[in-house]
């Protein structure tokens, strides 16, 4: 007999035994042949809450309830039997629907009850229960209404709620006004949506005209602004390219698209552009600095994507998303570190009493891009060198932070290429992607610097210039510069903390 040898290391596993579990019945009812599906539609008016409930019962539970419906046990459900069953069951349902209006419990009355069979699959029947409930409520003043559906809560099935107002306004509702299943008649077949499971609704009402209410139930669409949507579309095209047949033209197009996509990707929020801007502004950066950051971003990003791609294809059990989360955290921490370093440097220099040179008039005097010599006049040689080194380190840190989190689309392209045995092509695309990112970031940095230079120039021309607005603006920026290094450091710190915190919520 073979003996099992059990190792000692323990790694949590994702998959569990499927043995010893009842076989999976293929479904007859769209939601499975033993589902009990419930819909509760609320209508709120000044003096009452009405609830129309529908329970759509699949084949097996319908059969299970058959003997309860057939009171006299003669094998058929007469109209009288169905009517009395509907009345009792709707009373049960009303007891399970827990409603409150401004702290006052809603006491339901069953206005009407219906129960009907219809043919299902396998020669079996399905059934449908309809209950119309009403409860008095004083909604003529701003009130909060909360309804919890606890009827047959342990059954598998769809749970849906809607709310509309008649003669009053629903200010804030956690449920939509229209049923996506048309009252349990047509279940949406979205592969990327779980069965609806809405069991409670909270609605704030205000007296006022109009029955309409904005559908506040979060319907996830393709993502917010047009830029993101456009990017997503290009993303999909791009991923298609890595997998299609490779001709020289297609390859060229793919590389161009990768550059474009990288550029667009860098234009989306993130990638430390805020920090880059703040840093450049605070440090009175040079074009070279913008290049440093962009270069670091590109190198880090390309390297990161390649490393992660190889790691993932190595077939380990590493969850890609988790890694992305941790990298995000590291990136945030890095930015915080840069911010702290900036602050520490400032404080140290303030101790030596030379901050005013750095922040004040110095800048307004020089737009000749030759800061270094200027500085040498004031500062000791070694100190200046140290400051520049720390400045370059800070820039590299920001670049590193910006590129540390690989863009998922670049990663997917790389993985696709590796999977198709086109690793080289994939690497090329990732590099092109990085180059695109670098272009955008450098461009942004240069524009920023140019803008800053102009502002400063306008500030110099203060007395003479006729443009009052520009003069004022220039004076404002000049004044801002006084506090800039500190504000910059603070901003960098803040953004870093925000990035880290956002990543942390994903990881933990």
């Amino acid at each position: 007999m073979t003996r099992l040898v059990v190792g000692l290391a323990a790694v949590p596993a994702a998959v569990l035994a499927v043995v010893l579990v009842p076989a999976a019945p293929a479904s007859a009812h769209p939601l499975g042949n033993f589902s009990v599906n419930e819909y509760l539609g609320l209508t709120l008016s000044a003096d009452r809450v009405e609830a129309s409930a529908v329970v759509d019962i699949a084949e097996i539970p319908t059969l299970q309830d058959r003997s309860d419906v057939d009171g006299d046990g003669d094998g058929s459900a007469s109209d009288t039997e169905r009517y009395s069953y509907a009345a009792t069951t709707c009373a049960d349902l009303a007891a399970g629907v827990d409603g409150r209006a401004g702290g006052q419990r809603l006491v339901w009355t069953v206005e009407r009850a219906e129960f009907a069979y219809s043919p299902g699959t396998g020669g079996l029947e399905v059934s449908r229960l309809g209950c119309w409930l009403t409860a008095p409520a004083a909604l003529d003043a701003p009130t909060e209404v909360r309804v919890d559906n606890r009827y047959l809560a342990d059954r598998v099935g769809w749970r849906e709620m809607t709310a509309t107002g008649v003669g009053l306004r629903l200010v804030d509702s956690t449920v939509p006004s229209h049923s996506v299943s048309e009252g349990l008649r047509r279940y949406p077949e979205d592969l990327l949506a779980s069965a609806l499971n809405v069991r409670s609704a909270t609605i704030r009402v205000e007296p006022g005209a109009g029955t309409g209410v904005e559908d506040s139930a979060a319907v996830l669409s393709g993502g917010g602004d047009p830029l993101s949507r456009w990017m997503a579309a290009v993303d999909r095209r791009f991923q298609g390219l890595a997998g299609g047949t490779l001709t020289p033209l297609v390859g060229l197009l793919a590389v161009l698209l990768a550059i474009l996509l990288g550029a667009g990707h860098a234009a989306l929020p993130g990638h430390g552009k805020t920090i880059l801007a703040a840093y450049l502004a605070g440090r009175r950066g040079r074009p070279r600095d913008a290049l440093t950051v962009a270069g670091t971003v590109t190198l880090t990003h390309t390297g990161g994507v390649l490393a992660l791609g190889l790691l993932l294809t190595a077939g380990t059990a590493v969850a890609g998303e988790e890694i992305l989360g941790w990298l995000g955290l590291a990136s945030g921490a890095l930015v915080v570190a840069v911010g702290v370093t900036m602050l520490a440097g400032l404080l140290r220099r303030r101790g030596r009493g030379q901050h005013d040179h750095l922040a004040g008039h110095h800048h307004t005097h020089s737009h000749d891009h030759d800061h270094d010599r200027d500085h040498l006049g004031h500062d000791s040689n070694t100190h200046e060198q140290g400051r520049r080194r720390s400045g370059r380190l800070g820039l590299a840190g920001i670049g590193l932070a910006g590129g540390l989190v690989p863009s998922p689309s670049a990663l997917v392209v790389l993985l696709a290429a590796i999977g198709l045995g086109r690793t080289g092509f994939g690497v090329l695309l990732v590099i092109a992607y990085g180059a695109g990112m670098a272009a955008t970031l450098t461009g942004a940095g240069l524009i920023l610097l140019e803008l800053q230079r102009r502002m400063t120039g306008a500030a110099l021309a203060t007395g003479a210039g006729p443009g009052g607005l520009i003069t004022g603006l220039a004076r404002l920026t000049a004044r801002l510069h006084t506090a800039t290094p500190v504000a910059t450091a603070g901003l960098v710190l803040l953004v870093g903390a925000g990035l880290a915190a956002r990543a942390a919520t994903g990881v933990f």
């Binding site: 073979t2 059990v6 190792g7 949590p12 076989a23 084949e59 077939g315 999977g419």
Partner: protein
């Protein structure tokens, strides 16, 4: 002048910025755990549900990047997991569609999708297909632990015990964790090494962090104790499992079985009534009917069996294949010919000990005891400590007139578990009494 104003200003700005950053950080970190994933769903669900998080994240990602076959495959796997936990079959077609999408994007060398496809086939009891797919997955990636998990399940159910053990061993080597321990435990149980099986399942439990996983391990531990007749230990395991996952149907069924075996019939009946409402699967309904019958409620038992028949018919009508359940159902409703046909068909598909046992019993019910003996012996020869195998063997031997062997095996059945079945345990006792008196 400027210096004297600027310094406090700057110090103030630093302080304010730092404070704000800290507050923001604290706020974000502090808020995260208590913020539910879906705002409109404050249901009675305990907070940590990794599966739910995985599903939502995958769904969102695929909405943005529909070509990500890795995520399609893992979404399929997650849907499958959800179907298993909630016993909600809606998710099987969804899982299948997700796996198909993954394969459509990347038809070759897509190990993840193959593994999910195999797991789906296992869940649908199409073990031969699961084995085929798992072998293909292993061929594309020999280091994919989940591929060996699927392979192990398929080989086990097909009765290829040596291959199953090899697959489990490979899984243990590649990723010694919950899924490996759980399967190794089942493998040991199949060979009658119940103590070692319990030890391993405890080790699996120690690695479990998700509440569904904990519930699964507790349920297996409970079943191991229950099958050995240790009702108190079994009850403790089920109770501990329900503390982690109160809505688990499997654990509720465990407690119902403990109640039934302890003679608390009313409690057991009401537990079965409630759990068969939630999960009206043929096997639970057959158990419920058996209990009703032992309590003398024949008419109610028949009603539950009719329900089980309807559920099974729906399953087979939709292309599902499960001869074991079909045979058990036919045997319980007094249709020995159907039981035999179903058992034979299942035996042709797979040579698992449970199927051998069912086929032996179906032959016995058709008065073909000479044929049945070989199958009953084959089931017992696996070494599994099963009271029901021993009981069936003993009764067949009794029919054949081998009184000594019958006495030995009936005694063994009651030794393994004195309460193994509400109907069969008393029957075994009765038979033994007759053997002793004559």
């Amino acid at each position: 002048m400027r210096r004297s104003i600027g310094t406090p200003l700057r110090v103030g700005a630093v302080a304010a910025a730092t404070a704000l950053a800290l507050v923001l950080l604290g706020g974000v970190l502090g808020r995260a755990p208590e913020e539910p994933q879906v705002a409109a769903e404050p249901v009675a669900v305990t907070p940590v549900d990794r599966l739910e998080q995985t599903i939502q994240r995958s769904q969102e990602r695929l909405r943005r990047v529909p070509g990500d076959w890795h995520t399609w495959a893992s979404l399929g796997m997650a849907y499958l997991e959800r179907a298993r936990i909630t016993a909600d079959p809606t998710y099987y077609p969804k899982a299948e569609a997700a796996v198909r999408r993954s394969l459509a994007v990347k038809p070759d060398g897509n190990t993840d999708a193959l593994v999910a496809q195999g797991a789906l086939a296992n869940a649908r009891h199409d073990f031969a297909a699961a084995r085929r797919v798992a072998l293909a997955a292993v061929k594309t990636n020999g280091y994919h632990a989940d591929a060996y998990a699927v392979l192990a399940d398929a080989e086990t159910q097909l009765g290829h015990s040596a291959d199953a053990t090899a697959a489990v061993q490979r899984l243990l080597d590649l990723r010694p964790g919950l899924s490996a321990y759980a399967r190794a435990s089942y493998d040991l149980e199949q060979r009658g090494l119940t103590d070692q099986a319990s030890d391993l399942m405890r080790r699996a439990l120690a690695t479990a962090v998700d509440r569904h996983d904990m519930a699964f391990c507790r349920n297996q531990l409970g079943d191991l104790a229950l099958n050995a007749g240790d009702l108190a230990a079994a009850d403790a395991e089920y109770a501990a499992g329900l503390a982690a996952e109160p809505s688990s149907v499997a654990l509720q069924r465990g407690r119902a079985r403990v109640a039934a075996m302890s003679g608390r019939t009313d409690e057991a009946l009401s537990a079965y009534a409630s759990l068969t409402r939630r999960a009206p699967t043929p096997s639970y309904l057959i158990e419920y009917a058996e209990l009703l019958r032992s309590a003398g409620r024949e008419a109610d038992a028949m009603a539950q069996l009719r329900l089980a028949t309807a559920a099974h018919k729906l399953f087979t009508g939709n292309g599902g294949v499960d001869g074991l359940t079909g045979a058990a159902l036919a045997a319980a409703t007094g249709q020995p010919a159907t039981a035999l046909r179903e058992a034979r068909a299942e035996w042709a598909r797979r040579k698992h000990a449970d199927v051998a046992d069912m086929l032996a019993w179906a032959l016995h019910l058709s008065n073909r005891d000479i044929d049945s003996l070989a199958y009953a012996r084959r089931a017992s020869a696996t070494g599994a400590r099963s009271a029901i195998y021993a009981y069936h063997l003993g009764m067949i031997e009794l029919s054949l007139g081998d009184r000594a062997a019958a006495k030995q095996h009936l005694t063994m059945a009651l030794e393994i578990n004195p309460h193994f079945s509400p109907l069969d345990a008393p029957a075994a006792r009765q038979a033994l009494a007759n053997l002793g008196s004559s």
